[in-house]
Amino acid sequence: MSQAVLELSAAQAAAQIRGGELAAEELFRVYRDRAAAEELGAFLWVAEEVPDAPADGPLQGVPVAVKDLFCVGDVPSAAGSRILEGYRPPYTATAVERLLLAGATVLGKTNMDEFAMGSSNENSGFGPVRNPWDETKVPGGSSGGSAAAVAAGLAPWAIGTDTGGSIRQPASLCGIVGMKPTYGAVSRYGMIAFASSLDQAGPLTRDVTDCALLLSHMVGADPCDCTSTGLPEDIRLPVAERLDGLRFGVPPELTGAGVDPGVKVVFDATVERIEQLGGSVEPVALPHAGHAIAAYYVIAPAEASANLARYDGVRFGPRAGHTDLLSLYEETREEGFGTEVKRRIMLGTYALSSGYYEAYYGRAQRVRTKIADDFRAAFERVDLIVTPTSPTVAFGLGERTEDPLAMYLSDALTVPMPLAGLPAISIPTGMSDGLPVGFQIAGPAFSENRILEAAHAIERAVGFDGAPPRG
């Protein structure tokens, strides 16, 4: 029975529960037991009890794994950081609240890079996550726990957050679907902030249909987040099998140098597949995309340096240093934050300092505007832009921890879209060295349905057989 349940996509499970063929408690128990017993390090907390009567809605009784970055009322929510160890928020994030209203239940909280700062999940304050395809490899990050949990069948689906690629890159490395919606589509209220102007919540799922279904219940303007806009049209479940009439752009800046040959082979094959499905493909220039990483690593740390100031040991979380105010601040933050978080706080603090603001933050914002202009110009010629999601397949645990710059370059292909606020999806379209390769499709703001339809057609045609060996 439990094996059959595991084979169901989340959308199928939801349909079976509503049709009376599957008991919600059964579904929950199967996943709960797997999540509680897992050894990948994907979960930081797993629900002990089957939740009482979930809300009557389209997702009724389908459990969802929630990245530790989301506040869930009275449930440990630490953003992967020791500085929030034991913190149980007094409220629940809007994105999670919406899923609960649609009938979903919280299965557990997934591991992540501390405060979403990382691309391998090795920056978690609570230990790394292993890639279910090869346990010597990283799952990607920062939503590494969510991606690994979905790939390993520890959860039907999961939600994560993406600031510079934190949904799409781990989805790519774990061979699943992950989508970052348009900035503002999903409320950020209750998402523990990393870089406020970039952070967006989105789904990590086994297939594109699940992705659309989960996303459709996350989006919506929220009075608690005045940067939230929702979407102008509802998310539809995709049905496309052809790409006739759709124009695809391939930017040389994001598909050439730095992309591993094995990844490039899979990418090129997928582009060919697009043409077979009736889509047209042409090169399209994003002249400033090469500066995206540099701009990102000024803007994101600058915002983070302010966002993380509240972790001072005064109101919540562990406290160290009791002799005076300064030692309280210094020791609490010294002990609570990990190395990468400290590095980015220092970077951001420096970039905002008097006399340096213009040279760093001001200039990075201008680059950001240029990148957005590039995309705007490109989308006058094409409907969608495609790139590999990550320049490489999953790399080895420990392989890049000593070299922050190499680690930062893992995000080179995913960072330009959030800088421009644009939506993008990663879907698995092949294997290289026995590891999955992700294919990224980006579109103009609010083009989620277009992206999902295209992704659906490509997914059907590629027929990626998406499961690592399951324990």
């Binding site: 506040c71 409220y91 994030a93 950020r188 209750g190 509240r310 109101r315 300092s353």
Partner: protein, 486 residues
């Protein structure tokens, strides 16, 4: 040369920075109600406590109030102002930054009276720290506790140009600002309660020069009196430094009203690089035409304009006009009384009664006469009776006592208490009796000592229980002494 320096006259140059707590229903960026002395930490929520994941949402009423202030101060309103994060660590600042406005404030370039306004912006108040220990300051405190009730209260910061030239002018102008804000009903504007706070930037320069000297910033002047004293103390301190050949150092000074001592804040408390960052959690503040129209419609007549109108239309002396204009309720009561008095009424006489006798009877620091039992029509009638001679001034005061305590119709009170002005044969008899009883006083009057008249008048007043008119008594006395009636 040294003598020239010592003798030179200096001119103070003063700019003021005022913080005003708005009396909105809820806080600046969350739904918590404002606190007025509730138990500590009872008016808080995840947002104003800076919990992880929370986001600010701008209070529309605070924006409305701030727009009204900007308009009242004749400022230019920014079509699109920006909130910034002002970063610094302190336990009263839960997020580690204060949301404020920086390079594009809500309003700028205005004027109130003779002082130009540099800028007006919106921000949030910090929480309240209480330090246990002797100094009352954090550095030597044994323990400090935080009450977050105040944290997030909407504040408007008003910065003037350095147009103020004396401590007295600073005090007087701040009183005008207070009256203006009170009239707008956007704040309680109580200095002692912290809903109106004033810092002063002070420098001096040789009189007549245009360049500015090095300024210091004075903090903690929590009353009008302390503002005047603190600024005066700082002017004196700077003059002494310069006269003795020294140089003023730019610093922030803490004024201790108990000792009058100005002491520098520790450099750690002031040496901030605030690392201003445009607040990514908020969208720019762009007032719509509707918002502007609503703010404009909410603007009442302001004290400066009202004082000017009372002087011009009712011929009131400047100080009386100012008193009535600055105290809205008193002014409203006054104007209601004037209009009840009709075209025959005497606005100046009514003003004297309202600002003198009535105010004295209402007690309390800032009373609203509309809350008392006196009706404007009753007071108007009473003043008319005095003018017509139906009741003597002193008896009228007794009628007012009754009006304040019980209300009623002054004619009936005069009737029932027998307070009608004594006159005719009755008064002549009383006067003659008093003159007979006080022959020596009469002698002195005859010798030209007018002061002795008081004894006679006093006796008459006692006899008539105040119903007599002093002038009338004098006239009768002189008549009896054979003088020309005067």
């Amino acid at each position: 040369m040294a003598d020239a320096v010592a003798e030179r006259a200096y001119e103070p140059v003063i700019g003021l920075e005022i913080h005003v707590q708005l009396k909105t229903r809820t806080k600046m960026f969350c739904g918590c109600e404002l606190s007025f002395g509730e138990d500590p930490n009872t008016r808080t929520c995840p947002v104003c406590l800076g919990h992880p994941g929370t986001l600010p949402v701008t209070n529309a009423e605070a924006v409305h109030f701030a727009l009204m202030i900007g308009m009242a101060l004749e400022c230019e309103l920014a079509p699109r102002s920006i909130f910034h994060r002002k970063n610094y660590f302190y336990p009263d600042l839960p997020k580690g930054y204060q949301i404020s406005q920086y390079d594009v404030p809500l309003a700028s370039g205005g004027r109130l009276g003779e002082i130009r306004i540099h800028r007006v912006h919106l921000e949030e108040d910090a929480a309240k720290l209480v330090h246990a220990g002797t100094s009352g300051r954090i550095h030597s405190a044994e323990a400090s506790v935080v009450d977050f009730n105040r944290g997030g209260t909407p504040l408007v910061e008003i910065v003037t140009e350095p147009d103020v030239r004396s401590a007295a002018q600073a005090k007087e102008w701040l009183e005008l600002l207070q009256a203006t804000l009170r009239r707008l009903e956007v704040s309680d504007v109580r200095m002692e309660e912290g809903s109106l706070r004033c810092d002063a930037n002070v420098s001096i320069r040789p009189a007549g020069e245009a360049s500015l000297g090095t300024k210091t910033e004075l903090k903690n002047m929590n009353s009008f009196r302390f503002l005047e004293r603190g600024v005066n103390a700082e002017i004196t301190r700077q003059e002494e430094i310069v006269r003795s050949g020294g140089e003023v150092v730019q610093e922030t000074l803490h004024y201790d009203p108990a000792t009058g001592v100005l002491s520098p804040l520790r450099s750690k408390e002031e040496a901030h690089d605030y690392r201003y960052l445009p607040e990514p959690d908020l969208v720019p503040l762009a007032p719509t035409e509707e918002m502007l129209a609503r703010a404009r419609a909410a603007l009442p007549e302001l004290p400066a304009g009202r004082a000017e109108r009372l002087e011009r239309e009712l011929a009131l002396p400047p100080d009386v006009a100012k008193l009535l204009a600055f105290r809205t309720e008193l002014g409203d009561f006054y104007e209601a009384t004037v209009s009840a008095g009709g075209p025959e009424g005497d606005p100046r006489a009514i003003a004297n009664w309202v600002t003198g006798e009535l105010l004295a009877r209402l007690g309390d620091a800032d009373p609203d006469p509309a809350q008392s039992k006196v009706e404007p029509a009753s007071l108007a009638a009473l003043v008319a009776m005095v003018r017509e001679g139906a009741v003597a001034h002193s008896a009228a005061k007794e009628v007012l006592d009754t009006l304040v305590a019980e209300g009623g119709d002054p004619r009936e009170i005069v009737e029932s208490k027998g307070l009608a002005r004594a006159g005719g044969d009755e008064l002549v008899e009383v006067v003659e009796r008093a003159m007979a009883a006080q022959a020596d006083a009469v002698e002195k009057i005859r010798a030209g000592n007018d002061k002795a008249m008081g004894a006679i008048i006093g006796a008459v007043m006692r006899e008539t229980k105040g119903r007599a008119d002093g002038g009338e008594v004098q006239r009768l006395v002189r008549e009896r002494l054979g003088d020309q009636p005067g």
